[in-house]
Symmetry: C2
Subunit: 311 residues, 2 copies
């Protein structure tokens, strides 16, 4: 960067359209944490490249500031509008894929955590229903949690959460009881089975700034019906994923880009292997966990978005 | 993008690490407003390129979500933490320079609006002080507002705001009166003159998430002393700018990258042209406004950040 004399007495660095990115990166160069330094430098370079490419105007910049402020102010302990924004921009989906690629996991494909996970799911016994008062016929959901060689993992934790039969999460209902979520442990052969209702596809929350964005983009705003999972066992990588209902009209146009081909399932009727034979429909899915690679690798990826504002 | 068969019955688009960016851009392709479409597509591409370059992990992603949420929740009608974030990342400075470049303005160089502008500055008469109770010797600030040919613009509006003699803006003091800001009109020859105090350099607000970031980056967090201006007149481009005190220790390392060489000034002693001769020190600066280029070009760039949460 050029140093220039000012007022005949002061030497200063010239900041202008051409040098500002280098000047900003230089000012962050003493960051002690090398990873934070790398991330922030890359963020500044890409953020500036974006502004240069579109030749962002002061009015548009202020509109962006106003939008981001509204996103932040919409967040509550039961609503995470920034995760919704990340989801609808495809960033969350990309981070999920990068994770699978980085860990070279031969385990189950990841999908989005989404904004509705919570840590305080009730523990239930295998075979129990996760739904408090089902008003539609239940289905069975079953399978095994195995290692990558297909050996069952006993006592693995299977956390599951989904919408109720009206397409609503318990967290979206003010003061309502915990519903349509639970935590199970696999049996000695790694098997799990439970009862639930068919999850309905739903419109993402449209009454906040992200909803305004989706409408301005003429997107439909729907997610196909899906069931969230967080699968974990000591010594294995945690898997955050979801199963997607193949019959859903929006299976091919998920507004948050969570659908992955290996995670699309169907509901079988009269399946002779259904472990809850009194139920007509069943979904069968086996989860594979890959081992953690080193002592310093916790394998943990899940976290509770509802805790962000409780810290 | 590849379409693949799922479960032997559904055709769906393959979303993975390689295709997610195209899929996301495609889903936004029906956006009716062409400028919004352009901005959002570029944003998605650059945001994804950033995540790919640093191979962003789920833990780091959640840390980012938590940080942005905290930034949003720190905003109040008198504090704009997202503008502070944009400022400290050099984005605001870049947008300012892009504006000057786009408008090919031969007028005064722009600088940052900053988070402390407000629309309800009191009108004052030429020669009055903008400071309610100065506890240090005042200085004179004077000059002309001209067109790019150097002809004075009569009745131009000169809005000015700065810190008091302790380095604090009125907006940073709970419930305090409006202070160290005012609105003047130039005389028939485009001249302005007023009394103020020497603005002190200051630490940006460090008690929020942006302060946490600045500390983690081992940056000093200081801005050199400066005086903000918003200059306007019908038929001319509004100029948002600031004058920077050349003697300040941080003139060369402004934490928000607002300093521009043409905007660095000094305080003259015993200047025979000082229009307020009873004051010892004076700053002389002439502002140039360029004409608006077309009927549809308002020339307005200023906006009141404090209105963001009042809408």
């Amino acid at each position: 960067m050029e140093s220039i004399a000012v007022s005949g007495e002061i030497k200063m660095t010239a900041v202008d359209q051409g040098t500002i990115t280098d000047v900003a990166v230089e000012q962050m160069s003493a960051t002690p944490d090398p990873r934070l330094k790398q991330i922030m430098e890359a963020l500044v370079r890409h953020l500036h490249a974006f502004a240069r490419e579109v030749d962002l105007t002061p009015e548009e910049w202020l509109e962006g500031i106003t939008f981001l402020t509204a996103v932040g102010q919409t967040c509550t302990p039961t609503r995470q509008e920034f995760i919704l924004l990340s989801d609808t921009l495809g960033l969350s989906s990309l981070v999920t894929s990068l994770h699978d690629q980085r860990t070279q996991s031969s385990g189950t494909t990841s999908s989005l955590l989404g904004p509705f996970y919570r840590q305080d799911s009730p523990d239930k016994k295998l075979g129990e229903s996760i739904v408090n008062d089902p008003e539609v016929p239940e289905i069975a959901l079953y399978g095994r949690v195995t290692d990558t060689a297909g050996r069952g993992i006993a006592n693995a934790t299977v956390e599951i959460w989904q919408t109720d039969d009206k397409g609503v999460y318990d967290l979206q209902k003010d003061g309502a009881a915990i519903d349509a979520r639970a935590r199970f442990r696999t049996d000695s052969e790694g098997r799990y089975w439970l009862r639930t209702v068919t999850p309905l596809g739903y419109l993402i929350p449209m009454d906040g700034p992200v909803g305004d964005m989706i409408r301005a983009q003429k997107r439909h705003g729907y997610r196909p019906g899906h069931i969230h999972f967080l699968i974990s066992a000591p010594g294995y990588r945690e898997v955050v994923t979801a199963l997607y209902m193949g019959y859903d009209d929006h299976i091919d146009s998920d507004t948050v880009f969570g659908v992955r081909a290996p995670l699309v399932v169907r509901i079988d009727k009269n399946n002779p292997h259904n472990p809850v034979p009194e139920l007509d429909g069943s979904i069968h899915f086996d989860f594979q966990l890959s081992p953690v690679s080193s002592a310093g690798d916790s394998g943990r990826v899940g976290a509770d978005p509802s805790q962000i504002l409780k810290k």
